[in-house]
């Protein structure tokens, strides 16, 4: 009998079918409905902004990272998520620069995939918000003249934007904070309000997130913990002072849905243990409420998540699982 050339590997000799690229590309695929809503709401501007931020991310990974890392799909997630949390009217070059920053400074300087402390997409957005506060807070009206660009998308880099005749409106959170004006919850749920590209359709994001949670590609404890904390705190503050918004408004307005489902659950920058995920989610929820109600900004999801990202190493250390048999070993001693 001829002996084949035998392979020798360590056990286990079986592996689950999931792989890191598969997880990443599935997350990308799950974002398609969210992108569709963005395009439906904001027309060609949505496509352009997403393309610009995606290009920024992918190009940076290509040039400074490795081509192999491009195939794992993580840079694409960053690009799409960054695009989804930008307003439709932003000049494209800014979206591109945001993408470059997100991958370059959000991921590659830390050592690439798996090493970064902060969610790269949010870091990119924080950079843009700090650099171009006006462009980042100008919200075009949705579904107005679908084919028209929603702002000076084609502005030249570093030039002051030209005069563009676009209708803008405040976001529901802005309205609430600065004009004490509420928005019906059903309008929030279905995305019939102003806001960033991908943050307005709460229900669509929830459905996509539920799919990912079912595939075990995101830890459902994180969004659940965020929603529960926000709901409880908002109900409390609303009861104490009816001028503060109620729980449903808080949950479905602004970037909370997109942030809780897609940004906070980024595996790399969230805690590893389930216990840690509960703590982390509660922290984000509390920070969101605090910033929204008492901070200078109308929206606080981005900073809440980034701040809790920074806490993750400590949460991990404090929420180590209890090793099997150590409890009984202590009792016996």
């Amino acid at each position: 009998m001829t002996t084949p050339r035998l392979l020798i590997t360590a056990w286990p000799h079986l592996a689950e079918r999931d792989s890191t690229p598969r997880i990443m590309w599935t997350v990308n695929a799950s974002l398609v409905p969210v992108i569709a809503v963005a395009v439906y709401n904001f027309g060609p501007s949505a496509v352009l902004v997403l393309a610009a931020s995606l290009l920024g991310c992918v190009a940076t990974e290509w040039v400074f990272g490795s081509k192999e890392a491009l195939a794992d799909g993580s840079a694409v997630i960053t690009g799409i998520l960054l695009g989804l949390c930008l307003p439709a009217g932003i000049p494209l070059w800014m979206a591109f620069v945001g993408g470059v920053f997100a991958i370059g400074f959000g991921k590659l300087v830390f050592g690439g995939l798996g090493q970064n402390v902060f969610n790269p997409a949010l870091l990119g957005r924080a950079f843009l918000q700090a650099s171009f506060p006006v462009a980042l807070t100008t919200w075009p009206v949705i579904r107005e003249n679908w084919w028209a660009l929603r702002g000076d998308n084609l502005a030249l880099p570093l030039m002051s934007p030209g005069e563009v005749d676009v209708l803008t409106e405040a976001t529901p959170l802005g309205l609430m904070k600065f004009e004490q004006q509420g928005t019906e919850v059903w309008r929030l749920m279905f995305g019939l309000t102003g806001g960033s590209l991908g943050e307005t359709a709460g229900i669509v994001i929830l459905v996509c997130g539920a799919y990912l949670a079912w595939r075990n590609y995101l830890n459902w404890r994180i969004p659940v913990s965020i929603f529960a904390t926000v709901a409880v705190l908002a109900t409390l503050t609303h009861a104490l002072n009816p001028a503060y918004p109620d729980a449903m408004f808080m949950l479905f307005s602004g970037g909370l849905m997109l942030g809780a489902v897609y940004m906070a659950t980024d595996m790399v920058t969230s805690p590893v243990s389930n216990r840690g995920c509960w703590v982390y989610g509660a922290g984000i929820g509390a920070l969101v409420v605090i910033i929204r109600l008492w901070g200078g900004l109308a929206e606080g999801v981005m900073y809440a998540i980034l701040l809790m990202n920074a806490m993750v190493p400590f949460i991990n250390r404090a929420t180590q699982p209890t090793v099997f048999g150590t409890r009984t070993a202590k009792e016996a001693a």
Binding site: W11, H13, R22, G114
Partner: protein, 442 residues
Amino acid sequence: MAKRMRFRHGVHPPELKELTEAVPIRRLPFPTEIVLPLSQHTGKPAKPIVHVGDRVERGDLIAAADGFVSSPVHASAAGTVAAIELWPHASGSYQEAIRITVAPYDAQVPRKRIIPKWHGLDGQGIVDAVQHAGVVGLGGAAFPTHVKLLPPKDVTIDTVVINGCECEPYLTTDHRTMVEYPERVHLGTRLMMTTLGVDRAMIGVENNKPDAIERLTETIPDDLRGKVTVHGLTVKYPQGAEKMLIKSLLDREVPSGKLPMHVGVVVHNVASVATIAEVFETGLPLVERIVTVTGPGIRQPSNLIVPVGTKTSDLVEACGGLTDTAREIVFGGPMMGAAQASLDVPVMKGTSGVIVLTDDVVKPQKSYPCIKCGHCLDACPVFLNPQHLGQLAMYERYEEMNDHHLQDCMLCGCCGYTCPSNIPLTQLFAMAKTQLRKPKAA
């Protein structure tokens, strides 16, 4: 008992047992040569007492146990000792083994009853017989059975747990044993209960073997009814790990660093128990065992009774040969088994299966960076943090790994199985353990 019997965490690999679970056990003709390693068990290797050229009969003692935690080796076929030399061993190294050229056309009749009948033997008598018969755990770790039957005086045993989980994918030896020899399982259980002086035994079987559960339940001897119980358990890996099984059946948590006996339990594999019964029935020591030869790379997957020491090549031949895409041969289950480098490696007492994997099912070797998904923490049945341990291992910070309970790791492979980045976590932990066992340089 309303409480659900379960342990937490673990993984759900595909069962893959359909290849052989309904295939009756088949006896092979004797091979032309058998190779008996002196180290087939946990503990000190046995010492050879025969010389090259000696004629041995089936069942003859050829290597004596060296100390208490050791086990003797018996000739599994009649023939002549051809050599005592280094030979490929299932552990991956070359180890001392006795090669016997099997006498052709021999009736293979043993000299005499070597193991006495069990009737009338007291506990100590049974333990002595088990020790002399060279019985070791047949589930894989091959721990000498008699050691487990003599617990130290300061522990009280109240339950014998018989492990019929067979939670490893592919393997069906325990399954077929329970279906075809349930009476042996019960006789072995009775002997265990006698030696340990307990009147409760629990047989745990995963629910994917309903025929085994049924056969075992209906064959419980009348006087043991109520004392011996058969329990169907959730199909989940590693249900058959001692500590997990005790947790499932009795809801007792074996303390870290302790043994099952410290919570009043002795666990035996169902095949070991059946072998004890067989040894007393036939009067022959442990000279043969049941092996599942299966996997996509073998043409005719089978459950075989073979003499201990049969070479892999003989098994493969008996099962129709390898397919063209056969790529990796694993001894034991696919979760914890060891890949073999050579078809000369013989089946040992603890070899429950020979699995031939093909190109399309061997695990890809490419790994990605850790994305801290936490799936390994959800998988680890002893609640370690494999993610953190893995990072420490990559930087060779082995001492620190001990502080994070590396010694509680049983190398079950759940973390490596579940890792989406395909990081060889289990291998890293096995390496770390080996490094820590090395004596420190002065």
